[in-house]
C-alpha cells in the first residue's frame, strides 16, 4: 500500500553531544518523487541528522516521520520504510556480497524470489559480478559502497538516506547511482543525499538544504538559491552561506 505522506518529515530536530549542539531545531521535508541534497561543511550536523533519521541515535528533541510513520512511536514500521547507506558501510567482512544481500533481505522480510531478482539486478547494474563470490574484506572501498547501496535497494523503501554515497565510486558507478536515484524519484520515492560534491548536487537534486552549525541556512532549488546572483554557482552560494564571521582582531 503506497503512502501519500512525504517520505521524510523532520520537525524541530535537536541533538547535542555533551555541550556541542550538533543539530539545532532543524526542520526539513523530502517530498514524494524528490531528490533532496543535504549540504553543509564538515561538522555541520548532516551525519547526525541522517543517523537520527535512521534510528541510530535518539534526538534530544523533535519529530521524525518516515513515509507518514513517526520514528519514535513506531520504530519498526518506520525502519521498514527507509534504507540507509552510512558514510562507512555496515558490512560483514567475512561474508560474500551474495551472502550479505541474502542476510539483509531476511532482515527486511523480502519475499525470496523478489529479493533474489532485485539482488541480481543490483549486482549486474553495479558491476559486482566479479566480486560476488569473494569475501567482502577483499573488496575495495568503491565495491563496498556498491554492496551497501545494493543492500538498501532490496526492500525498495519509500525513502533512501545516503551519506556521502559517491565516495570511492568510479565514474561509471557514479552515473549508475545517479540514474538509479532519478528512476526512484520518477516512481514517487524520496531520497535525501548528503554530499560535498556541489556540482553533483546541483545537477542531481531537485532541491537542496544547506545547514551550518546544526541550523538550516537555506533551502530551495539550485536555481532559486542562485537567483539574484548573476553568474554565481551553487558553490558560490554555499560558501557565502556557510562562511563564519572573521574573528575580531
Amino acid at each position: 500500500m503506497e503512502s501519500a505522506a512525504p517520505p521524510l518529515e523532520i520537525q524541530s530536530l535537536t541533538h547535542r553531544y555533551g555541550d556541542l549542539l550538533a543539530v539545532d531545531d532543524l526542520s526539513l521535508e523530502v517530498g514524494r518523487g524528490e531528490i533532496v541534497g543535504f549540504l553543509g561543511p564538515n561538522g555541520a550536523g548532516k551525519t547526525t541528522t541522517l543517523r537520527a533519521c535512521a534510528g541510530l541515535l535518539v534526538p534530544h528533541a523533535g519529530r521524525i516521520a518516515i513515509a507518514g510513520v513517526a520514528l519514535a512511536a513506531q520504530p519498526l514500521v518506520a525502519r521498514a520504510r527507509l534504507g540507509f547507506v552510512p558514510d562507512e558501510p555496515f558490512l560483514y567482512d567475512r561474508l560474500t556480497p551474495v551472502e550479505f544481500l541474502e542476510f539483509v533481505a531476511a532482515l527486511y522480510d523480502v519475499p525470496a524470489d523478489l529479493a533474489a531478482r532485485r539482488a541480481e539486478e543490483s549486482i549486474e547494474r553495479f558491476d559486482l559480478t566479479s566480486a560476488r563470490g569473494e569475501l567482502i574484506e577483499t573488496c575495495s572501498r568503491g565495491m563496498r559502497q556498491k554492496i551497501a547501496i545494493a543492500a538498501v535497494l532490496l526492500h525498495d523503501p519509500p525513502l533512501l538516506l545516503l551519506d556521502e554515497p559517491l565516495t570511492g565510486l568510479d565514474p561509471q558507478a557514479v552515473r549508475t547511482l545517479k540514474d538509479l536515484l532519478r528512476e526512484r524519484a520518477a516512481r514517487g520515492l524520496g531520497v535525501l543525499v548528503s554530499t560535498h560534491l556541489l556540482e553533483v548536487a546541483e545537477r542531481l537534486c531537485d532541491r537542496v538544504v544547506i545547514i551550518h552549525h546544526g541550523k538550516k541556512r537555506a533551502e530551495g532549488t539550485p536555481v532559486a538559491l542562485r537567483d539574484g546572483r548573476a553568474g554565481a554557482t551553487l558553490e558560490d552560494v554555499f560558501l557565502a552561506l556557510t562562511a563564519d564571521p572573521e574573528p575580531a582582531p
Binding site: 551474495v98 531476511a106 563470490g133
Partner: protein
Amino acid sequence: MIARGVLLGRARALRNSVFGRGRSGGRRGARGPLTGALFAVAAGLILYAVIDGFFDELVRAGATREEMRAVLALAFDVALAMLVIFDLESAVSTLILDRDLDLLRVAPLKPRALLGLKLLDGLPRTAAPIGVVALPALLAWAVPGPTPAATWILAPVVLALLWAIPLGAGTALSLAFLSRIPARRARESLGLVSLLVFAALWVFNFVVLPRFASEAGEPLARMRWLLAAAGHIVALTPGGWAADLIAADALGSRVRSALALVAAAGASLALAAFAAGRLLGPLLMAARTPVARAGPRGRRLRVAVRPFLPAVMRRDWLLFTRDWTLLGDVIAGAVMWTLLPLIVLPLHPVRSPELVRAMLLALAVGTGWGIGTRAFPVERRAAAWMRIAPVPARSWVAARFASVGAFTLAPVAVAALGLGLPARLGAADWLTTLASVLPAAALSIAIGLWIGAAFGEPGWTSPTSVLTLGGRLTSAAALALQTAGWIALPAFSQETTSGAWLSAGLAGSVAVGLTLLVLVALARRVASPGYHH
C-alpha cells in the same frame, strides 16, 4: 617531536573518552575506560585481601622469611606468565594491525619510536596483570610489616621492570616469528601462538596440579611443600629477583637481584628495539599490501533468501567458521573445559556418572561462555543492523540465543555420547545430568551474550581480546562462579537420590529464571538508544 605530538594526542583522546568530550563522548565512550579501571581496582583489592590473608596464615604456621619471599616471587612470576599468555599477543596485534598504523606509518617516525608508542597504546591491557596481581602481592608484603622507605621508592621501578621483561622479549620474538610467515596471515598466526601458549599452560596445570595436590596434605602444607620443592628455581626467575630486591635482608643479595632485573629488562627492551628497527617496517608494509584472497570454497553465487532465524544462524556460522583463530579458540576451549574435572581424579575417587556430569557441565558452561561472549563482537560495526533493520530487539536476542545455543549444544551432545555411553550411564544418571547441563548451558550463553554486548571491542584483532579489560574481568568472575557452582552442586545433595533430584531441579529452575532475566536485560540493552558498536 613527532612522537611527542602523538603522545599528546593519545593523552587528549584518553581525557576525552573518560570525561565524555565531543561526539565520541557518548554514554558508552565515557564509561568504558572508567569501568575497566574500576573492575581492575576491585580485582586488585580482592587479590590483595587473599594474599594478605595467606601471608598471615603462613606466619601463624611458622613459615620462614624465605618461604614468604618465595610466595611473593611466585606472585610476580604469575603476573609475568599472565602477561605473556593473555596480553602479549594483544600488544603485538596493536603494533602490527592497529587501525591508526596507516597514519603513523606515513609519518616520519622511526620504527623504534613507533614501537614505543604502540607499547604505550597497549599499556592499559598489558599493565593489567602487573596492576591486578603483582601490585597487590607487593602491597600485601609491604603494608603490614615495617617497610623501609627505599622499598616504597623502589616498588614502582620494580613493577615497571617486571612489565618490560616479558613484553620486550615477547615482542622481539613475535616480530621475528611474523617476519617468517606470509604477512596476510599475521593475525591468524598471532592467534595461533596465543592459543598454543594457553593450551600449553593448561596441559602443564593438568599434569602438575594434581601431583602437587596429591603429594601434600592441607592447602597450607601443600604450598609450603611447593615452596620447598621449587623455591630455588623461583629465585632464578624475574619474579625471584624482584622479590629479593623488595624483601631480601642482605644488601648484597638486593644489589645482585637489582642488577639481574635491570639487565634482563634492558636486554629485553633492547632486543625489542633491535627487532623493531630491523623487522617492523617491512612487516607493516607487507601486512598492508592488499592480497587477493579466494572466496569460500564451494560458494554459491545464486541469491537464496531464508527466514530471519535461519538467516541469523547461517550468518553466525559463517562468521565463526571463516575466522579459524576464533574457531580454533572455541574448539580448543571446548576440549580443555571437558578435561578440567579430570584434575580432581588423583585426589578423590569419583563415580563415573559424577565425572561425566562434571565434564559435560564444564564443557557446556565453558563453550556457552566462549561462543556467547564473542557473538556480538564478531559482528564488529555491522552490529548496527540491530538498530537499522525493522526487527524487534527481543527477536534479535532470541535468534542470537538460539544460534549460540545450537553451536554450544552440538559439541555437548557429541561429548555426552562419547563419555556417557562408555560409562554406561543409567536413565536416572542421564536425566540428572541433562537437568543440570542444559540450564547451565543456557545461563552461560545468556551471560556470555550480555557480556559481549556490554563489553565487546568492535575493533578486536585477536580472538582472546574481543572484550575490554572490564569485560574480561567480569567474564572471568562470572565464568568461575558458574563453573564452581555447578560442579560443587552435588556436594550438597549426595546423601540420597531424591536429594540429588531436588537440588538439580532447584538449581535448574534458578538457572532458567536467571537466564530469562539476563536475556530481558540484553534485549533492553540492544534496544537502548545509541546501542551499536
